[in-house]
Structure formats: structure tokens, C-alpha cells
Amino acid sequence: MSEAVVAGQRSVRPSVQPGTVAKYVFVDSPELTAADLALRAYEIAPAVQIKETCFGLVITGLEAEVDRLVIELRNLDPDRIFVKDRGFPPGDERRCRANLGGARPGFYGHENEMKLVRYISSGLRALRDPKKADLLRAKPKKQDEPLSPERLQEIIEES
């Protein structure tokens, strides 16, 4: 984390230069923790900056390096690792929780989607099991059909 400064101090300068990127690598797996992911990332690409976050890692570096690392990390658990670009470098004082007092708005959005990624994992797994996928996709989506007058009549008569 960068040194603490008063939020919004004008001394802030972009610390990531054009050509470098930051990406989130989030994991939602009972077998793989963010710490495991970090360890593996250091082994694969020691030159890339790696920071653990609430849901996984932020990796920062030259685009090609970061992309190579992302591919390797994704292979550890392809269905349960999720990757997204990040606008800010990690620990940037403009976005750092330590300076803002509270979480930046994007954190809540991530928290919300991280509750749903297990369904995405199911979807990704199903892609490799065409039978299951076809079966599930064939099922009509459950909908609350309006009650027909005939059915209503039946219910009344049954009761």
C-alpha cells in the first residue's frame, strides 16, 4: 500500500505509466485461496507487481506480462477464477480505502457480483459437458404464468 496521505492531496501523480495495466484476478473456490494464487503468481512472474485484495489479487505490469500471467493463473482453476481490468494501480491514494475512510464505490459492485460467480462457474463447467448443458438449456425458464379462468374454476371446485 502506498504511504498514507490525506485524501485528495494534490501531490497525486499517476503511478502507472501508459503501456502498463492492472488487472483483478478474483477466485471463488474452496480449493484455492487468494494467498495460494499470490504464491503461484510470484513463481510464474516475479517481475510483475502482485497485491492481495479481498477477493483475490491485483496484478500490475506491462500488458503482455500481465496477460501471460493471467493465462497461467486461470489454468489453476479455469471455472472459478475471474479476471477484470482495473483503472487504477493498486494502493493508489486516490482510491485507497485507508485514505477515503470507506470503501470505494467499485468494491460494493465486486462484492455483489462475487456472490453470483458460483453460478457462472456452473455455467462454465457445463460448457464442457454438452449433454448437461443441453438438458439445462432445454428446460423452460420458470415463469409465473397467470392463472387461467379454467384452472381457477377447477381449484374452486376441488376445495
Binding site: P14, Y24, G87, F88, Y119
Partner: protein
């Protein structure tokens, strides 16, 4: 590789799936990165300056709040650039760049007006819905020029 505008622009799920299936997701992160990496700007936290809401006048009139126009300065050029779009309709808990309902209405409208291929769906709330969600996105993306079939 097609440029696919994702809605919500901050979505981890959409960003991941679009890139995973071989396309380039356009959303908040890329727009903010461009701002953050522009030398000479000194307007923390997002490096959005009062000039941005003025640039947003291209997409919304002056009586539209500055926060809408500032956000449109991020998204407007991406919408113009996009080859396709994916919209999650029930993205009610997307904050910051997607935290303004009025901006979001305008973003969805402009996407529709572009007449590019659009896929609209809702967030999955079960494994079954997850399967349909992922399959629909994969199928949609595979139909775009330059997509991967894997």
C-alpha cells in the same frame, strides 16, 4: 476480436466472459485507466476535470446534471466504438461509474440506437440460470466477427 460494450460497465462477470471468449470488453476500467494514465491531469480521484462534463454535452444537453455528462464523457466514446453490447438488465447494485440511474438509462438507450448486436439478460440466481447465462453469452460472442469458438 470484436469490441463489446458491457453493461454494467463495472461488471467483473461480463468483463471476464467477454475476454475469456476472445473479445475485448469496453467498460469503466478502460475509460478510467485512460484518464489515470493521462499525464498533466490533476483532478483526483478519477482525473475527471470540469472539461469532461462539457465533453458530455455531445450526449446530453446542458440541463442534464454534470454527473451524468461527466460519466457520458467516459462511456459515450466507447458506445460509439463498440461492435456489440451485452446488457444485464437487473444491475441495480453497480456503483460509482454505474451509480447514476439517469446515466444508465441514457447508456442503454444509446446502445439500442446504435443498432449493433445486443444481448440482454439478467443476472443468474441459480446453477441452471448460470448455465443459460454463460451459454447465451458464449453463443452471442461466437456470432461476432473474429470471435473464438472454444
Amino acid at each position: 476480436m470484436a469490441k463489446v460494450f458491457i453493461y454494467p460497465g463495472t461488471s467483473l462477470i461480463l468483463s471476464d466472459l467477454v475476454a475469456r471468449f476472445g473479445h475485448r470488453p469496453l467498460g469503466a476500467a478502460l475509460a478510467v485507466r485512460e484518464k489515470v494514465q493521462t499525464p498533466g491531469l490533476d483532478s483526483p480521484p478519477l482525473q475527471i476535470t470540469p472539461e469532461d462534463p462539457k465533453k458530455g454535452l455531445r450526449y446530453a444537453a446542458v440541463e442534464v446534471p454534470s454527473g451524468v455528462r461527466g460519466r457520458m464523457a467516459l462511456y459515450g466514446p466507447q458506445i460509439e466504438e463498440a461492435d456489440a453490447g451485452i446488457i444485464v438488465r437487473d444491475a441495480d447494485l453497480a456503483f460509482g461509474c454505474m451509480g447514476c440511474a439517469r446515466t444508465n438509462e441514457l447508456v442503454r438507450f444509446l446502445l439500442h440506437r446504435r443498432e449493433i448486436p445486443l444481448l440482454e439478460l439478467t443476472y443468474p440466481r441459480s446453477d441452471e440460470e448460470g448455465v443459460r447465462f454463460v451459454a447465451a453469452i458464449k453463443e452471442f460472442l461466437a456470432g461476432l466477427a473474429g470471435g473464438e469458438t472454444a
